[in-house]
Structures are given as structure tokens and as C-alpha cells.
Subunit: 351 residues, 2 copies
Amino acid sequence: MINPATLKDIARLAHVSHTTVSRVINNRPGVRAATKKRIMRLVKELDYQPNLVARSLVVKRSKNLGMIITTIRNPFYLELAQGIEDTARSFEYNVILCCTNHDLFLEGEHIRELKRRGVDGIILTSAQIKDGHVAALAREGFPVVLVNRRVLDPDLSDKVDYIGIDNVKGGEMALEHLLKMGHRRIGIIRGSLESSVTVERMEGACRALTRYGISLEDDLVFGGDYLKGTGYEAAKKFLSLPNPPSAIFSLNDYMALGVYDALTEQGVRVPEDMALVGFNDIEFASLKMVGLSTISQKKYTLGSMAVRRLMERIEGAQAGREWILEPELIIRRSCGYTLAISHGGLAPSER
Amino acid sequence: MINPATLKDIARLAHVSHTTVSRVINNRPGVRAATKKRIMRLVKELDYQPNLVARSLVVKRSKNLGMIITTIRNPFYLELAQGIEDTARSFEYNVILCCTNHDLFLEGEHIRELKRRGVDGIILTSAQIKDGHVAALAREGFPVVLVNRRVLDPDLSDKVDYIGIDNVKGGEMALEHLLKMGHRRIGIIRGSLESSVTVERMEGACRALTRYGISLEDDLVFGGDYLKGTGYEAAKKFLSLPNPPSAIFSLNDYMALGVYDALTEQGVRVPEDMALVGFNDIEFASLKMVGLSTISQKKYTLGSMAVRRLMERIEGAQAGREWILEPELIIRRSCGYTLAISHGGLAPSER
DNA sequence: AATTCTTATGTTAACGTTAACAAAATGATA
DNA sequence: TATCATTTTGTTAACGTTAACATAAGAATT
């Protein structure tokens, strides 16, 4: 591997100082046209590529940002990541990918590493409700933007940015929809309580239940980790109940995949024998053969907005803003609504 | 944001030279225990974090690697990416994520950018059969490892590393399986011919066809881009044929999703009315409600091996090796095999 | 032609590390 | 106690840039 040409190499060949070359490279004014041309020719000829690590060192900007997500396996993060990557590139930023695998310790390690690497900012989607790492970053004013999950700490609200959707409303919409269709025993599958998303969606679900005068039954709530396996186990447990639910609300779509697996295995039909509503609207949900009703959020937009906001922060903007997008109920087959309609009517409560 | 402590800060406070501090940080021998302890205490106290960009500049190693993929939307790359990320971290490497969106120009841009950033090596999954960017990297001896897709250029075979599976065999297995089950008109959906994967899998498919004395019909081959939409269009086209195929081989699973969409839309049952075999075994394929028969490859392993090999290359190993893993036929519902079995027999040709 | 203003270029230092070498301090040996 | 070997520490330069300031060369004004 040949050593790439440096500013000084070009300077020597062009009989100018390296500063002049630097000026040309960054096309700053104050260089005679002839000199500029001579230098440019050499730049082309030697295929000069500026050494960004050297530049980073002096300008104290790496044009790198860190993206911390729990696991890339969850398709939800795909679209988010795409929004982040695309938008970052449009700002000439590169993205360093970090997965925490739901491990708070690893999150800390990654943050430390990213700071050592001199990233200009971090987009973090793995925040926990009480998250010391995020708190520390926020307090020192390091540019972070939380996406999807947030920290719930009033002290921090003016020190950290957040972009997400109204999860309470989303949870409420999902449950309300099932309740409207006449379901009264509804199984709820949630992920970790350390995620604000869980708390908020549960809160929404409870609101809807309360409005219908129903209280949350312990047996009908299954807690896990937002991965497919949790959905599978939850569904199996629900089915084994003496009085199983007639509908399931899975707090994310990825777990709903597991629900489908368990139901298919036991010959339980969706939506005839069991209605199902998910959350996030991952690509899978929209497949015709699946038709998972779900609460949709604009994942790409979320990622894109997060990067844009991060850029503002890097440019010095004050922290402490938040953007809450609207969730949307997407009705497909799995909730049974379309079926009810085509059978010429809704459940009793709707008539 | 407070400026982080530097070596010199610590040196000043510890009344030693910064070199001594550097020695302690990198725990090199030749520092008195007492001095070391004094420095260590300060390191802890000030929460000193070495500036990796400064270090990179002098040691000429960034401990960063670039991962270039076509699009993170294709679930195939998820698992691959995970293998890469996990393994990279185990070597204390960070991964810079780059998506080409199937654009060769963008691939070039990314490579250039990564080199400017001083990555130690690149893992590239977006190679085209004739790929000038890869060729250039290979010729200058830059550490690259190709995964999944390769360049087909005899001049380069001793200059570039490749890790993939035997796609010819995979294609052959898929088609042979369908042929064995009695199918004689088989629609084939392929992605871009610029990908070696396409050429190889097609080659395998043809071999199987030839063995059965069948020639490839133009109408039964649909070319696209390995994304879902292609599968959808292809299936619709096949169905509109005066004499539609009885089976479809989709060269990847992601397109098979589109096939399902089209078939479901038109009320064509899988596998009763149309058998279907995919390739890659993405998570979706294994869902019980889907049961997509497919050719499996160990995606995580591929990624992991690629990183390990890249590390060897960075340490100076000679280029020019390749690893070809074995594909595996995964029989699920969509190919109709299990159905045939349960009906007490196979298609005529198998009896 | 001398003076001022402007434009073009150069010199030097800095960024935070590591590396090569030099020097000082310590311990062992005579 | 002087000498040498060894251990510990320090000095300086380098990595490839940009930034601040200084200087030189031209052009414009008197």
C-alpha cells in the first residue's frame, strides 16, 4: 500500500508553502488564479485525499456521529437507521454503528468509545428511563439526541433533546380499537419496563381500559424484551389460561411475529379466533399474507429529524427540545375489523 | 461542554513528562511503581480518555473499519451486519456504516471517504462483477474483504479476499428440488446481472434444468433488483402468462416477500397452486405462518469471518484467499414438499 | 517616485498523541 | 568511593492538517 500524497508533497512540487495548498483545498480566497490552477493540477495528478483524522485533530470536528441502537435485529431500527444514515450523509457526516444488545453497561462502553473517537454527537435509541450514561452526557452538554426511548427525569428535560411519537396515545388507540370491536379480555405483551416506550404505551392502554371500566388483569400482561421470543412465549401463556383473551395487543410488531408463530402452531386463527394489534408498522406487517393491524410511526422521518437536530446541537443550539409525532392506527386483517365489516356488521358494542 | 483532560494535563499535575504518562496509559514497562500509581490516580480522578484521533494520526491505525452494503433495508444484510459489528468490537474496532443504494458511483464515494477517514480496512458486500473501485483497492493492496458478492476478474483473484457461499450449488439445489417434485415450468426471479450472486445462482439453476432436459424460457425469467417490488412484479407477470409456471424460484427471500404479496392478492395459494423457493433464509422465511422453503446461508458467520480475515489483512497477510461455505436446502411449506408427503406421496417423477 | 492599500504567499505554532533518543537517577560491582 | 550497568524519566520531533500572524509583492493613489 503506497503512502498517499500529503499537503506538503503537493506544496513541494508546486513550489509553494503547504498553507497555500491548504487554502486551495478548502477553497479559501486569496490565492492567485495561476497558483490555484497549478496546485489543482497536482491535486488531480497525485489524487490527493485530505487526511481527515489530521484535520479533525485541529478543527476539533470529526464529522462523525455515533448511532447507538439496542439491536440491529429488530427491523424497527432498520428504517430508523436508514433515515439516520441518509441524512447524515447529506451533511457529509459518517455514522458509527453501535449495538448495545440491551445491555446498559455496553451502552456506557460505546459512549465512552465514541467520545474517545471524537464523534461530534450521538443519536441514541437505547435510553432507559433512568440512564446514568445519558444523564452524564446531557449534563456536560454533549450533543445527544434521544430517539424513540427517552429518559424520564425532570432535571434533565431542559438538557436533552428527544424525538419520538406520542406513545401514550398510540397505546390508547390500539386498545381502544380492540375494545370498540367488543373485546373485553385483551392480552398485552410488553417489553422491558426500563424503556419509556413500554411505560407510555401501557399507560395509554390502561387509559382506554379504564374508560371501558375494565381493570388490568395480571394474567393478561406478559413482560419480556421486545424480541420475537417474548411474543411467542406470551401467546402460549395466554392460550393456556383457563379463560384466554380474545385479543392481543403486542407493544411492538417484532414480538407480534412470535405471537403469530405460537398461534399458527396451535391452530388458532387470526383474526377469527384471536385478534391482534401490534406497534411500529415494520415492513413485515404490511405484507398481504400477514396483514398485521398496528400503530404506525414514521421511522425514517424520526431518524432524519434526529440527525437534523443533532446538527443544530453541534452548531451550538441549546438543548432541551422535544418533538412528538403523531401515531396512526393502521387497520389490516389481524384486528378483525375488515372481517367484521365484510360480514355485515361490527361487534355488539359498535352497533 | 468541558474540554477533556489530556496527557499533558495529567503530566503537569503529576510532575512528570507527558511521555511518562503515555507510557502508563499504554502500560509499557519502565515506570516506577510509585510514579505509575500517582499517575493512575490522576487518570481516574480526571476521567482521562485518550484522544483516539490524535493516536490514529501517529500510529497510522484508526481501529475503524468501513462496512459497505447496498441497502440496510434488505434483511439479509441485518444478520451479516450483526456478525460484522459483534466481531469488530471483539477486536476493539468500530464500524462505519455505508449504504450504496445499489449505486456504483456512491460506492466509489464511500470508499474515498472511508480512506480519507483512515479506516484500516473495508468490508464490502456491494461488489459488482466488474467493479473498478474494488479493482483499484485490490491493486494498491488496501485491505478489503468481499462478502457475498465478488468481482469476476482473473487478474484480481490473487489480490482480493472473498467470503461467500457456493451459489452455483445453491441455485442448483433449489431448482433440482422443484424439478424433483415434478415441476416443469418454473419461473425464476433474479436481481441485477451485475451481481456475481445472480450469475452464479442462475448458472446453478440452468445446470439443474439441463440435467432434466429443459431449456430456459425467456418468459420464465424476470430480472430486477433483489428488492420486494421485483418479486411482486415478477409474480404478477408470471400469472398473466397464457401458460403460467407451477413453481417460482426467487433468487432471494426478500423478493419472495413480493411474490407472496402478488399471489395473495390474486388468491393463488402457496404451495397448492404455486410452489415457491427462495434464497438466504432471512428471519421472515422461518415464521410458521410463512414457511418459505429456501437455500440457507450462514449470514452471521459470513460477517464474522470477514472481519477476522480483515484483521489478518491489516496485520499484513497476503491477499488472494477465498472461503466458500456450503449452502443448505431448508424445506418448509412453500415448496409443497411437506404437503406432498402428508398426502401420502410425491409428484409422479419422484415415485 | 514615494506612499498606502490590497492581494498573495510564507512562517510558525498548535492539535494530542507516540517514538526515538538522550539524560538522569538508582543500584550493583569492584 | 568510583565505575559501570540498569532502570527510570525527560526532550524533541513527528503525524498531516488548520489558524494566526508576518511578510512580500502588486496595484492604486498621491
